[in-house]
Amino acid sequence: MGVIELHGLRKEYRRIRGGRTVAVDGLDLEVPDGGVFGFLGPNGAGKTTTIRCVLGLVRPNAGSLTLLGADVSSGLAGVIGKVGSIVEQPALFPRFTGRRNLQILGRIQRVGRSTIDEVLERVRLSDRADDAVRTYSLGMKQRLGIAAALLKDPSVLLLDEPANGLDPAGIVEVRELIRSLGAEGRTVFVSSHILSEVQQTADQVAIIARGRLVKAGPVNEVLAAGRARGLVVKLADLPAGLRVLADEQIPAVVSGDTLSVDLPPNQAERVTRVLAAKDLYVSELRPEEVDLETVFLELTKDEGLGP
């Protein structure tokens, strides 16, 4: 059983002037226990609405939803103590210090001072903990939001776009933090539209577009789904190689200092044979690197939903 399970989740918003917007459209999803789960999709795909549904902030129009085995509509209060979250920007009282903000939240579930110190240390905010939050940078606010989410020592963390607005150093920090949280055995559910971020942190990934699931599974498998479209060939005489391949009806183009050959990797032998027969020797031959972005574009291109 998954830590988070969604079946046929649907949420639509009615507009004041009539009509309705479907934010989530029959979404099925199962998030396994432990590790980092990436939840990918372009802006407006329904990621935040899904997270809000999981946290009971928004009522779905249809479908079932369980969190840590509890039905969200009726049993959320029983499990919320094990769930930490940030939804969009972490909302904090700007005039209060970082520590005071955590104390206010911690009071709800009687979190002790030592825990507050620990989470501040963990997100590297101990030095600024007694400064007003309004003086914090965006990255510090984001880290304080994560600290707030960690106060409950949660087994599940839902982080909505945690790298939003962060500078490169901040992104690296948050990435490392997410990885370490996942490595501790917690389930970290991270939504993002920044594909490279998810690729570097997640063990599993689900891609949604227009409120529907496009693809889900281990990151490697999802990457494999769009992999192997071509080969990268490096050799000394690129124009000669291009001519030879063209003579053999093998489509290829020059791409920088390599040839990009439009053949699946399992036909690499044919390329080497053809080139070697004309005394052109390959110095490098590898499948084209496929990143998550490419896969995402590939998977969503039928719906015209690229980021």
Binding site: R52, G56, L57, V87, Q89, P90, A91, F93, I108, K152
Partner: protein, 297 residues
């Protein structure tokens, strides 16, 4: 900030009042006291109310009525016997302060966006709102009692320096305390109404705008156009609770105790308490319903 502002305003007001007052001379005091004793005695003999046991509404004893009727006439400005009256007359501002505090407490989480965070810690929304109502009640009572205490204390000081305690009845402090408690109770009631509107409107500004619009414009206009429905208006109910003076049917007549025929009471203390409670309960129920069912985006 409101607390500091309130204290400063009270101090400034008392300095101005003290500057416009002066201590009566011994002769003035003796003359006023003699006149007071004479009028009080006449009143107690029934020379003011006339025959019959009926006391004017709001009075529980003849002595209480006579003490009010036969006020010592020293035109010195500040008189400590007006302490309870002072709290009554400043009650509008104290209640409005309570409204502003409650609206701020109710709307702050929506304005700051912290309601989302709060609900991810405590998803039982009814509990969240009821806890908030308790907090509003405690804060409003504390702040309004404190400010009324400051007002009373500074008034006592101003009287000691520039006024007189002549004619102050023995139970004055107790009366003033009761008045202060009634004012705070009304402030809590109005505060809960403000909290309910802030919860429904999800904004402090909405709560203040709607409530002031309703109280000042709607109730003011309605009370002017249809006096007969004053018994259902929140402001009138609050006024009756604070002053303990009922509102009479204006079509009746009351001629200063010379007649036993009293006009019909349109809104008495009990009815006023019920009216205020109905406003609070209905709006809180509406707020609970809205808070429980609406999405938090």
């Amino acid at each position: 900030m409101m607390l500091v502002g309130g204290v400063l305003l009270i101090v400034v007001a008392m300095v101005i009042a003290g500057a416009n007052s002066h201590k009566p001379t011994a002769a003035q005091i003796a003359s006023a006291d003699a006149a007071f004793q004479k009028q009080f005695a006449e009143c107690m003999q029934g020379q003011v109310l006339g025959p019959g046991p009926q006391l004017p509404p709001g009075y529980t004893s003849l002595a209480q009525f006579c003490a009010d009727e036969a006020a010592p006439n020293v035109d010195t400005g500040l008189q400590f016997r007006d302490a309870a009256l002072l709290l009554q007359h400043t009650s509008t501002f104290v209640v409005l302060l309570g409204v502003a505090l409650a609206a701020s407490l109710g709307g702050a989480d929506w304005s700051a966006g912290t309601m989302t965070t709060l609900l991810t810690w405590e998803p039982r929304r009814i509990r969240v709102l009821l806890t908030r109502a308790v907090v509003v009640a405690v804060v409003v009572v504390s702040v309004t009692l404190f400010l009324q205490g400051v007002l009373l204390g500074s008034f006592r000081l101003a009287v000691a320096l520039r006024g007189t305690s002549l004619g102050a009845p023995p139970g004055l402090i107790g009366d003033a305390l009761q008045t202060g408690l009634r004012v705070s109770a009304v402030a809590v009631g109005f505060g809960l109404v403000a909290l309910a509107i802030a919860t429904i409107g999800r904004s402090t500004v909405a709560a203040l705008g709607v409530l002031f619009g309703y109280l000042v414009l709607f109730e003011g206009v309605i009370a002017g156009l249809r006096p007969s429905i004053q018994d259902r208006l929140l402001v009138r109910a609050g006024g009756v609770i604070v002053s303990q003076q009922p509102i009479f049917d204006q079509n009746g007549s009351f001629s200063s105790g010379l007649s036993n025929q009293l006009p019909r009471v349109l809104l008495g203390l009990t009815e006023a308490s019920v009216v205020a409670a109905v406003y609070v309960v209905v709006l809180m129920v509406l707020a609970l319903f809205a808070f429980r069912t609406r999405d938090v985006n």
